[in-house]
């Protein structure tokens, strides 16, 4: 698959969409397409239904956190698309949120590929990306009452664990801090 050709095909089929090729510096040579949020769903639909590309199989969906890039940073969702008919792939497609705090909405691809259902839930759970149009957007691995998004780079784990003495100094240090805090708080727990 020639990424340049795919790009021009999409631009012909979905007028107004803004695409960008993200160059991958590693020897794997898997370059990817960055989609804009507004037209992403239409582009994905084209990728799935176009008889030449026929990317009917969405293999992998994942989130990436870039807190330090471009000012306030953004969250990224990456899709790896394959074709079971044409046996080609992967076409790597990515989308970025506006920032990491409030504007974290992206279109869901679950209506196109059901394989994205659990994986988008996982990205929502661990990264906090909200997928518009997902039929059942709930936490999947963490429990329902959980607040934060553990896979973000600035995640701080809560200080609520049970201490077991181990040889490792970092754990030991944290455990001491934990017990000190408990003493200050009146020794509850």
């Amino acid at each position: 698959m020639n990424l340049e050709k795919v790009k021009s095909d999409i631009e012909a089929a979905v007028p107004g969409c803004r695409l960008q090729i993200v160059v991958n510096g590693s020897p794997s040579g898997q370059h990817s397409l960055l989609l804009d949020r507004e037209h992403a769903f239409a582009v994905a639909k084209f990728l799935r239904d176009d008889p030449e590309l026929c990317l009917d199989y969405c293999s992998n969906v994942t989130g990436v956190d870039w807190p330090d890039t471009e000012g306030s940073g953004y969250l990224e969702v990456v899709y790896h698309l394959y074709s079971t008919v044409k046996k080609h792939g992967p076409l790597t497609v990515r989308m970025r949120t506006e920032d990491r705090k409030d504007a974290v909405n992206l279109p869901s691809f679950t209506p196109l590929w059901r394989s994205a259902e659990f994986q988008e839930r996982e990205v929502f759970d661990l990264y906090g990306v909200v997928f518009d149009g997902h039929p059942d957007l709930r936490r999947i691995l963490m429990w329902d009452g959980f607040e934060d998004h553990p896979m973000r780079k600035d995640y701080v784990d809560p200080d609520d664990y049970e201490y077991e003495p181990t040889a490792h100094d970092a754990v030991l240090k944290r455990a001491l801090e934990h017990s000190n805090r408990d003493e200050k708080a009146g020794g509850c727990q």
Partner: protein
């Protein structure tokens, strides 16, 4: 006929059942505590520290470089490096681990510590019956519990240990040759200097030049081994 498939299947179970009386192949169960299968040579469970010679404290190969501590995936190793140096098996002054703890209740037996160790100091044991009723202290092993002799290592992993021994012997020979060459070079330089100082005097170097070659095999008696040779060889290893 209904039930034919079931009957065929039952015939197969019957063949296995009666077969287990005559054929060892069909009777695969081993009655464990009484009967034991031999462990394969590659078997591994928890790490131990190798020492040479009779005294574990003097012969510990570990130099406290903390590479294994850093690389350990579950972070079960805790090392405190010593402040002073002690001569190691080659006679070079080296750091040693003042504290070396492994929490084997955390260890996942991946043997990455063995792979990353540049000094062949940590190896995998095969002892697996380690249950204890002391959940915390009993499974946190310090270096006196971890230290096991090279003979033990040779016993549990003979092929691997033979390779390691050969490699170490080679390195030792190399280091000695290097030390010897360095001493000789130093002596020659000293002789030259002496020559230059007092040109008529015959070279007084020979005795000091021949002495290192006598004392070379006993590694511990080389305190004056030039600092350059020891540091260069550690750099090569740490590369």
């Amino acid at each position: 006929m209904l039930g034919e498939g079931i009957a065929k299947g039952l015939a197969e179970t019957a063949r296995n059942f009666f077969g287990s009386y005559v054929s060892k192949e069909r009777l695969t169960t081993v009655q464990f505590p009484e009967e034991r299968l031999p462990q394969p040579e590659a078997a591994r469970d928890f790490p131990f520290l190798v020492y040479d010679g009779p005294d574990w404290q003097a012969g510990l190969r570990c130099v406290g470089c903390q590479i294994c501590e850093k690389e350990c995936p579950p972070k079960c190793i805790y090392i405190e490096k010593s402040k002073d140096k002690k001569p190691d098996a080659l006679g070079k002054p080296q750091f040693y681990p003042a504290v070396f703890n492994i929490d084997i209740s955390v260890c996942m037996s991946c043997q990455i510590c063995v792979e990353v160790c540049p000094f062949e100091a940590i190896k995998m044991d095969t002892e697996f019956e380690l249950s204890t009723d002391d959940r915390f202290g009993g499974l946190l092993w310090d270096k006196s519990q971890l230290a096991k002799s090279n003979e033990h290592y040779n016993k549990i992993h003979p092929t691997e240990a033979a390779e390691v021994d050969a490699r170490l012997a080679e390195e030792k020979a190399k280091a000695e040759a290097k030390a010897k060459a360095a001493v000789q070079a130093a002596a020659q330089a000293a002789a030259k200097a002496a020559e230059a100082k007092a040109s008529p005097a015959p070279p007084s170097a020979p005795p000091s030049g021949s002495a290192p070659s006598d004392s070379a095999p006993s590694g511990s008696a080389a305190p004056s081994a030039p600092a350059t040779s020891s540091s260069s060889s550690t750099v090569a290893k740490n590369d």
